[in-house]
């Protein structure tokens, strides 16, 4: 694998098309993301935002086009695990492992994938849990935690693999309103860490604050890519304007 240069995008998507039967969820998507960039995907539900980021670690297969991550083509086969080791994901429904303690949820990946010892991995997991503000919950089981705490475990679990890229699939959509802030704070804390981030969210204010670029999608297509100030004050597409009117003026 060739070392990627500064200007070389860490994620490249070319003509990516995803179909569910006859329905085209993604229509020939082209997108490049630079290393260290924070990209927020916005758009109405069903527009393909989640599907797009799920293609990057192949939780969703795509029929046409291709995706490369750090120069590795994303497809079934030996290289797939390499891609998944580099790409962390935080899920809307947390998807913590209920049979493991919080600590082992975070330690499992490094032990099994990076062949770290349980002792070393748990020690690191504790540090990560402290970093996301729930060090004292380490020995509990996920079900004993609040939604906000569970999502912070989800973030720590993804971080434990030291990924170059983090994907956030609506990380606060399943949370009670009072817990959204604590999770957004943790995500904000990760920006500037040099990790490339793709985030699907409905939190407009947050998107505007942390994004380097906004990608606006509708009906499986990218309708507009802009820096956040331009996008929120003066979007160029009619679609984006209508979307912003609907979500901001209520």
């Amino acid at each position: 694998m060739a070392k990627t240069g500064e200007s070389d995008p860490i994620i490249k998507m070319r003509g990516v098309t995803k179909r569910f039967g006859k329905f085209e969820a993604l229509k020939s998507i082209d997108l490049e993301v630079a290393a260290g960039e924070v990209v927020v995907l916005l758009g109405p539900s069903g527009s393909g935002k989640s599907t797009l980021i799920r293609c990057i670690n192949l939780l969703e297969t795509y029929e046409d086009g291709d995706i490369t991550v750090d120069g590795i083509r994303v497809e079934e086969g030996r290289a797939l695990r390499q891609v998944r080791e580099e790409v962390g994901m935080v899920f809307q429904a947390f998807n913590l492992f209920p049979n493991l303690t919080v600590l082992d949820n975070v330690a499992l990946g490094p032990v099994r994938v990076r062949k770290m010892s349980w002792d070393a991995a748990r020690k690191r997991a504790r540090t990560l849990l402290e970093r996301v503000g729930i060090g004292e919950q380490a020995d509990k089981y996920p079900i004993q935690l609040s939604g906000g705490q569970q999502q912070r475990v989800g973030i720590a679990r993804a971080l434990a693999m030291e990924p170059h890229i983090l994907l956030f699939d609506e990380p606060t959509s399943a949370l009670d309103p009072e817990m959204v802030g604590e999770v957004l704070d943790v995500i904000r804390g990760l920006v500037d860490g040099g990790t490339t981030m793709l985030l699907v969210t409905h939190e407009m204010g947050f998107a505007r604050k942390i994004a380097d670029r906004i990608v606006f999608m509708e009906a499986g297509e990218i309708k507009e890519i802009a820096d956040p100030d331009t996008f929120f004050t003066n979007p160029s597409s009619e679609r984006a304007r209508a979307f912003l009117d609907a979500v901001l003026n209520h």
Partner: protein, 224 residues
């Protein structure tokens, strides 16, 4: 001839108890072996069915369907009386263990499959997203959760296998039932049969109760 001396003749029972107990141990050995091998075989079949390549999946489906459809007794008789024509000659115990294991595997395969399919997709995705191999994903995440779901139906299946061991008497294996019918003939009294029935109950009633306890516990944790 009163009922007690006919069906509950203590003298007869005591005289033939060693014979019955000998049969009971053989029944337990046969049942236990078939249950354990069936649990292992079923897990392998379930993995083949869920994650195997196309042809493997097809073969597993054929196997599972055929061995759930065929009567245990028919398959047992085939293994014992028909296989020798192919040069495969198994002892009564080996025949019975083979037949019971093959059929039990088909049932447990379906139980495991249902248990694994009951685990939410997000669990698989979370495991894959941190780069776990299929083996690690199964061992650390999916199976520990699936086990809780499948323990009651697996216990039920184990009870059925234990009961089906009585069919082995047909191929001249001296299991509990065979010993009891022999004792009955020798004593000219049906008490040994009643004794055997009671021994089966002592063996299996606790297991039946256990399934109820498991199911209650599972129901409670699901509601939590």
């Amino acid at each position: 001839m009163d009922i007690v001396s006919t069906f509950f003749n203590i003298d007869v029972l005591v005289r033939y108890m060693p014979l019955l107990l000998e049969g009971l141990w053989r029944t337990i050995a046969l049942g236990f072996l078939s249950i354990v091998l069936g649990l292992i075989g079923g897990l392998i079949l379930a993995m083949g069915r869920l994650y195997g390549a196309g042809p493997i999946r097809f073969l597993v489906i054929c196997y599972v369907d055929v061995f759930r459809a065929i009567p245990v007794l028919v398959w047992l008789v085939i293994v014992y009386y028909a296989l020798p024509f192919l040069g495969i000659r198994l002892s009564p115990f080996a025949s019975a263990a083979t037949a019971l294991t093959m059929i039990s595997s088909a049932y447990t395969a379906e139980i495991y499959r249902a248990g694994i399919e009951a685990i939410p997709r997000g669990q698989f995705e979370a495991g894959q997203s941190i780069g776990l191999s299929t083996f690690d994903l199964m061992r650390d995440v999916i199976l520990p959760q699936a086990i809780r779901i499948v323990v009651p139906p697996l216990t039920n299946n184990s009870i059925n296998v234990m009961k089906d061991t009585a069919l082995a008497s047909v191929v001249a294996m001296p299991d509990l039932l065979k010993q009891a019918t022999q004792a009955q003939a020798l004593a000219a009294n049906p008490t040994p049969l009643i004794g055997a029935a009671i021994l089966y109950l002592i063996l299996l009633l606790p297991l039946v109760r256990l399934v109820a306890v498991f199911e209650k516990r599972l129901g409670r944790s699901a509601r939590r």
